[in-house]
Symmetry: D2
Subunit: 480 residues, 4 copies
């Protein structure tokens, strides 16, 4: 099979899955008036693989079987593969209006992670998890499946370990072990795309103590598995007008609260089940792969912001103003810093068991830099755009003959630019920065793929302070 069409993919989502949205059970996510936007957005992945312009980038032919598969499934073997992977993510995000698709990116981040980590678990515990992972990987690849990853537990009291929580289900856990599999209970928050993927992979979210043994659990299930309920979040859906919401009316991520209500997982889908001292490694290794994905999908959104700012500056007749150039320069440097650091993370990757792991330090400083300064980038774009972003007329006024003339006459920009184009440019900036959708992007910048504090800890721990202190001692003439 290898590569599915977008229609095959969409048809696969009509599988009886349990999805709730705005208080109602959703029969078919691909036809629901709002959720379908998310499904169509995700389907871009499959369309790109069919598109002659992008087919070479997004698919690969297996040397032995000559089967054509989605390139996402190929583990990166070195710098070049990581650079191509970055290019795939940048390209598909650009085609997705600056919104990452996350239909295979995150899932394969998890598959590579599981391949690396279960080998160590097997060595330590004599388990056969790697075999299961390998077979599962082959299955997903062969059927061109889309994959969500559920990692972040709902957590309850953040200062307590899972086993100490008042609610024992604050972290997903094994509630029963059977000969043929395990039964799991709990919920994961912030799972992106679950409503639109075939499968969901579940990983632990943190290091555990021995008492947390039952929380050391990793597995994968089809989304329509019995007991699995998705409560999809409505935030970021701002409306369906292509005039007011040129991007968000077409491109969208949807997160779910992903509830496992005593879900049975057969053994061949279980990848960790009690090996508590491996949970931290599994969680952290995944994060490192996934932050590389993160920093790969940030620059296309930034390019869109830069373009929108440059466009409205031109339309307003202020493209040559020194402060506008200063702000555009700041936006460019911001974007290129992230992009270049991502490439550096590929260059300085580590090869572990034949899989290229992006450089942790470069990945984390890129992610932290992006997150720390995203709001300032938004400010600069809004600053260039002007107040009309939130004081302008609605689409209805534009079409109403009683007001159209006034708007035409009074809201034009510099000569040669139509009022409609100017309004469209302004609407784009509102949609991207000053709306429910813009708010979604702000939160995403800070919280997706780990918080600012998580990245700071990684940066601090990853640097060789002993080396630096030794340099300082030598320079200061301090012996010993």
């Amino acid at each position: 099979m290898g590569v599915r069409t977008a229609e095959e993919y969409l048809s696969g989502l009509r599988d009886g899955r349990t999805v709730f949205f705005r208080g109602a059970r959703v029969d078919d996510v691909t036809t629901h008036p709002e959720l379908r936007v998310g499904a169509e957005h995700t389907a871009i992945d499959f369309r790109l693989a069919e598109d002659p312009r992008f087919r070479e980038l997004f698919t690969a032919t297996l040397p032995d079987t000559h089967e054509r598969i989605s390139r996402y499934f190929l583990p990166p073997r070195g710098m070049q593969d990581l650079l191509i992977r970055r290019e795939m993510i940048e390209t598909s995000t650009r085609e997705g209006g600056g919104v990452v698709l996350l239909v295979k990116e995150i899932g394969t981040d998890a598959l590579f992670t599981l391949t690396l980590v279960t080998r160590r678990v097997d060595e330590q515990y004599g388990t056969d998890y790697l075999d299961r992972v390998t077979r599962y990987h082959a299955y997903c690849q062969a059927h061109d499946l889309s994959l969500a990853v559920a990692q972040t537990d709902v957590k309850g009291d953040r200062s307590l370990l899972p086993s100490r929580q008042a609610n024992p289900d604050s972290y997903v856990r094994i509630v029963e072990r059977r000969p043929d599999g395990i039964v799991v209970r709990g919920a994961k928050a912030h799972t992106t795309g679950t409503a639109f993927t075939d499968e969901v992979i579940v990983l632990p979210t943190r290091a555990l103590s021995e008492a947390d043994r039952d929380y050391a659990v990793a597995f994968a299930v089809p989304v329509n598995t019995k007991g699995l309920t998705l409560i999809a979040s409505p935030f970021g859906f701002t409306g369906s007008s292509a005039f007011h919401h040129p991007v968000s009316s077409r491109h969208h991520l949807v997160e779910t609260l992903t509830v496992f209500d005593d879900v049975f997982v057969p053994n061949d889908r279980v990848f960790l089940a009690g090996e508590w001292d491996c949970a931290g490694t599994l969680a952290n290794t995944f994060v490192e792969f996934h932050r590389y994905t993160a920093i790969s999908y940030k620059p296309p959104l930034c390019d869109l912001l830069i373009g929108a700012a440059a466009l409205i500056a031109e339309y307003n007749g202020v493209a040559g103003a020194s402060h506008v150039r200063e702000k555009l320069t700041r936006l460019i440097a911001y974007t290129e810093t992230v992009r270049s650091l991502t490439r550096a993370a590929a260059l300085d990757c580590t090869i572990v068991d034949g899989i290229a792991v992006p450089n942790t330090m470069a990945t984390n400083i890129a992610k932290q830099y992006f997150a720390m300064h995203y709001h300032e980038a938004v400010r600069d774009v809004q600053d260039i755009a002007g107040g009309l972003v939130v004081t302008g007329p609605s689409e209805g006024d534009w079409h109403n003959p009683a007001t159209r003339g006034y708007i035409e006459r009074y809201l034009g920009g510099k000569q040669g630019v139509s009022t409609e184009d100017r309004l469209r440019a302004i609407n784009l900036i509102r949609d991207l920065t000053a709306s429910d959708f813009g708010g979604y992007h702000e939160i995403l910048a800070i919280h997706a793929e780990g918080s600012l504090e998580a990245q700071k800890i990684t940066i601090y721990r990853g640097y060789d302070l002993d080396r630096c202190r030794a340099l300082a001692k030598q320079a200061a003439g301090i012996g010993g």
Copy 2:
């Protein structure tokens, strides 16, 4: 009459005014399902004047007539009056959910400005504008009228003076002079609250050349004046659910594109008509009064953000984390810097013809500081809040028995905090920072009351660089 009730005020808005919203003419702004929120918000001004807790602050008794009037109409005579004015604005904004009312604040800024500047115009030109302004002021005060101010022209090509524009109506201008008045044409952008005020005062937006004589025009008209059309902006209206939109479902500003289609203004309402070399002074003096209003209404919103961040930190059990304290400290210092600078602007006011003008330098650095760092404040609040701000469930899911249990079970915070309270705190943060309404606040921070660049210019020009250069020369031993 002196002080009207809120109901009297609202009833006054049903006067046949021409308001368009979302493509339709609005019959009655006080009953329109969306716009009524704006009217009710503005009405808070009148309710506070009736409220025993606030009556002393918001009203004053005239010594001669013993009439009780809204205190806004009293020109500030010194520091103390400016501090009280600041307190009125801070208090009413706090009662308005962090949203300024702007029902008399900006209008009286304009009245004080006109009083100061028309005296100069009269001296130079032998006109009688000051008399007209004085009578108009008395009229507004006596009838407790609400006032909008329309200043910013739509501008067309920003690099050209009004008289050089391809569209001669890019700035509001006098198209006819009659014995009994003038006829004006053009449009003003970003006029706040026009749909909910009795009157609108029009001021020029910039310094002019002699050729721009017809653009040097200031006047006031009732909002239901013939030829006056308001096109109200829908942005920031996010929805009516008090659960999802705890603040924006109740508090709201509405801006209009304010179109003057050959509006006749009788002479006693005309305050400038051709005195081109006074237009710049009028524009700038108003801005200085109005920026003081601006920096007075910013801290209550910030306090709400601080409170929301502190609350969710507590609910999530991380109130004691050092990074949370660091971020809260940053938010506090940000807020208090603006508040203290505002008080310093009162302390260092200048008394001109008996009217206290807030200190320009302190006012502008406060405004610029607020605007420059607002997005970072938003980032810190969102950072503390967590990703659930945009991945949580909808109100419908909360009320649906099929999902309520899951949400109760899995989205609680630390012990002793109800899941509902936690969701409400998260919804508050979304409403304030990550929504259409949040986007509105971001744009407002940067663009309302003048752009960042305008403030920078004022700061640069307002400082005595000669004095500093002399200090440097003396220190450097440079003679002359």
Copy 3:
């Protein structure tokens, strides 16, 4: 006596005090080739009091005795007094080349503090400290004495209380109690100006536990007291060339390690001796007075930096460049923010027992803001100045006929500016920012009057978070 002349003051410093500098005992600090710069700098205080231009500002006439005294000794009774005090400090610092004199400022900060706090101690413990303080204050005032304050202990291991230190003398302590006084031992770090003052007042540095009883000690002694040794720091002395070091060759602070080697303090000079639970209040109250002094003396240095930057921009012919204006605007806003916040701290003072205490919040945000951004201000000045600041010729080359011609010919700026003036302007910037003296200023910005972290804690604790949380709850619809 009331007001001494500068010569009387200097003569008073020749009192046999024990001062070490660069490894040698100093006989007379007023004639020592380097230290005399510090003494002459401090003497400016006395010269200003004699100067007809400044006499009114710096002195006051006592109503009862008609004695003229230094105004520093008068406790501030309200806002106006605090504003005058600010003006005195700003003025004298400006006359001191941007370097605060600190000859009575800090000492009277301590006297006001002791007046406030010993009243509470006396009430609690039945002691008579307030009487002693009052008499000591009168004595200093009558003899126009200069005063240093030694507060910061050397501290040893910062994580341990005084009584837990391996070295029991890590904090100054009482080692013996006699009927007629106490004997103290220990050392204070960073004491400014001790070598040039008549008296030194010693205060505790932190809150203490009951076990630290002996460390709860405050007192005053003449600097030439037996057992008192000053080890003066040489850092910041860069050289005596007025060409290379136009400011630092004339203006200078000197800090000492102030060692108390079993110093006897008679009872009437002892202001706290064991009342451990009052030590924290004493330490913190002093800090609040003293941070107000701090933020009062910062703007004159900033004005000098602004002037130097504006001057060299003019000399280089780039005064009109947009980036230069942007940077100057940043410097101005920086300076005026501190100055305005200082005035706001006076406006919002608290009157305690008739003494006006500057507003803690405004004082601390001003201090923290200044400290946090001083290095960026330095960067902007250096950026405007150009690389010649550290690549230019020496004074010797300028005077050497073999090179003078080349320098004249090649290092001139725009027409009409002499090469010598340009070099002097560059030298000023080097002296202020890129030299030992510049480094001294950088450290001073961060560490003098308490560290950044100390200010952050004060800001965090000083804000009413409960009020903010209540606002948020109300806005969010959270009951209770």
Copy 4:
């Protein structure tokens, strides 16, 4: 010959060159009490080439002649060579106490540039410059010569082109053309290392107009050439005490004002002479190579700062404080951002005529990022270090028995750390950040290798805004 010893190199500097320093002619730069520090610092380059630990990195064997040469002379052929070059510069700077050697780095930057650009000039003008450059390159390589590059003209009025200056010698120019060569006059500012190199290469500093033909000149001469005078700058020389100045007493750059007083340059040393339209390309191409050198030598200094900060935090017993970790994390991210971007600049190099040119965008954002935030890094280091950096005792006091005991007793840190080690760590921080030498580093950060504004322009111009605008148009639904 291939590789010289350090002694051969130093001996070569005794060649009668004309150097002035502090007003006197210097006979021998290698024995002068101050300048010798600079010569010894530069000599490290030759010592590393002899050192078994570094020999492989710093030298290469020519495949044809088997001659061993300094690797600097090999033009980079691709990413790998650029990464090695970065490693050479980082390593030698680290061995040089955080101070770049700049003995061959900048010279070979110029040689690679000349190779690339003269090929174009020759094609356009039929000249034979490339041959001359090739022979000169071979000569320098064969004799292992050290090279300075003089580029920045003294400029006079910065708003005028060279030919419009009041002083026609404000830019170096050809004053006579002879059959056998040219005669040049003028001066270059900020030339690093000239006093310690065998040769100096001269390049134009900016784009020129046709009228500036005589200013379009590039050439190379031995430093002892007749008519060449160096006026060496004394700034940054702080003193010879290894205790007070652990780094600057041993490592040092020296800049000169480099005066060409009718210097004759024979034809084979002339690389541009009148081809005015190529001057800009030559200037800019050099800058791109040289900014890569710049960003390669910044991280070792930063590592030293990080190490010093971590060390003093440990000695003071505050290494575990959350704010200390926050600041160290900031310093690490700062350093690694520069380092990673440098590696990305190598990865994304462009191969032109077989020479790898580092990526312009990555190079410039790295340089600008470094320069923009260096002062904040200094602040964080000083913040961690504490006030003792400028209030501590001198070396003399440490050795004086009368004070040594007090210092030992009172200035120790946490247990187990000797007072001397603590003082040494503090002295290191003062030397690096709060001294003449520290000031030198601050200015260097901003101005060396081009100003912040120059980098901003390059960043702005280098980005494809058309592509971004097209993205925005497509997203906004704007046709055309």
